[in-house]
């Protein structure tokens, strides 16, 4: 190829007007030995493209990509975290459980015990029960 022609092709190459055929010719030319020194950088460019062209995808690349992007059911992970939370809560549950008796104690704590002597307390309870019982009967059988 004449120097003149190469220059022209290069000109069109940078204008992105060359055809595939012409680009092949250019690549062919720059692979040759009689490249003027001022075009030496072009040799590198074209040989780079040439080399890159030779690169082939590795074994099973497509499979690996498809495997990587495959929509994965997230359920498994979700189940695991749900299970973890439940286990954790079960483990912590005793901390939050307030026994019935404790609750009563907390509620009743507003007032101190009126009696120190259980005997007197029992008498008071007994009396209260009888009052409640009498009132209940009054309510249940108002006509008596």
């Amino acid at each position: 190829m004449e120097r003149e022609q190469v220059a022209q092709l290069l000109e069109r190459y940078w204008q992105v007007e060359t055809t595939v055929e012409e680009e092949k010719m250019l690549a062919e030319y720059f692979r040759g030995t009689d490249v003027p020194s001022e075009w030496e950088p072009y040799r590198e460019i074209f040989s780079f493209y040439e080399q890159e062209h030779e690169v082939r995808p590795g074994e099973g690349l497509e499979e690996r990509i498809m495997e990587a992007v495959r929509p994965r059911p997230r359920l498994r992970g979700a189940w695991w975290s749900a299970a973890a939370v439940i286990l954790l809560l079960l483990g912590l549950e005793p901390l939050f459980r307030v026994s019935e008796e404790k609750r009563v104690e907390q509620r009743v704590a507003v007032v101190e015990d009126t009696y120190d002597d259980p005997q007197l307390a029992l008498a008071a309870v007994q009396k209260a029960l009888l009052i409640a019982s009498r009132n209940m009967n009054k309510g249940l059988h108002p006509l008596k």
Binding site: R107, V108, P118, A128
Partner: protein, 173 residues
């Protein structure tokens, strides 16, 4: 992310535990009037109820013995001042979402209201609010309450039981 959710859940649990400890109707009433000299107050705590087992029970009727043994606390607040006013106030303080109405009775003097807190077929609290012209009484029994047995108590109350009450009172003075 999971930790954040966990924190929220734990927070909710805590709120639940705390709100369980909140005051009930009679608790509010107590809180308000316990220092008020117009009111007299009786409180028997769960601790005292446990101590009751050490007392001699020989003279106590079986029905009462059985009923008392299932109680955990007793609170009474009463006054002779403006009974009907306090009756109204007490009723207003009852959260009817928590309690179930059991008995309501009203005639020209008497106002009696029984409400219960029930879960799983067990009555955990019996709250009586009563007023007549002589006084107002609010009474809360907490424990496992057998209403039939309680209703029978006054009927089965015998002279012996009354004697015991009198004795206890005298000791009190």
């Amino acid at each position: 992310m999971i930790y954040k959710k966990l924190l929220v859940v734990l927070g909710l649990l805590l709120v639940g535990a705390v709100s369980q400890a909140q005051d009930d109707a009679i608790g509010k009433f107590f809180g308000k009037y316990v220092e008020d000299s117009r009111f007299s107050v009786v409180s028997v705590s769960p601790k005292m109820f446990r101590l009751l087992s050490k007392v001699s029970w020989d003279t106590i009727p079986v029905d009462i013995r059985q009923t008392v043994s299932k109680l955990q606390s007793l609170r009474i607040i009463s006054t002779e001042t403006t009974p009907y006013v306090f009756y109204k106030e007490a009723l207003a303080k009852i959260d009817m979402k928590e309690y179930e109405e059991l008995i309501t009775m009203r005639d020209k003097d008497d106002n009696i209201r029984f409400v219960i807190k029930e879960s799983g077929g067990i009555i955990h609290e019996l709250l009586m609010i009563a007023a007549d012209k002589d006084g107002f009484t609010m009474m809360s029994f907490v424990g496992d309450i057998d209403l039939d047995k309680l209703a029978r108590l006054s009927a089965s109350m015998d002279i012996k039981g009354m004697e015991n009450l009198k004795n206890a009172k005298r000791k009190n003075n």
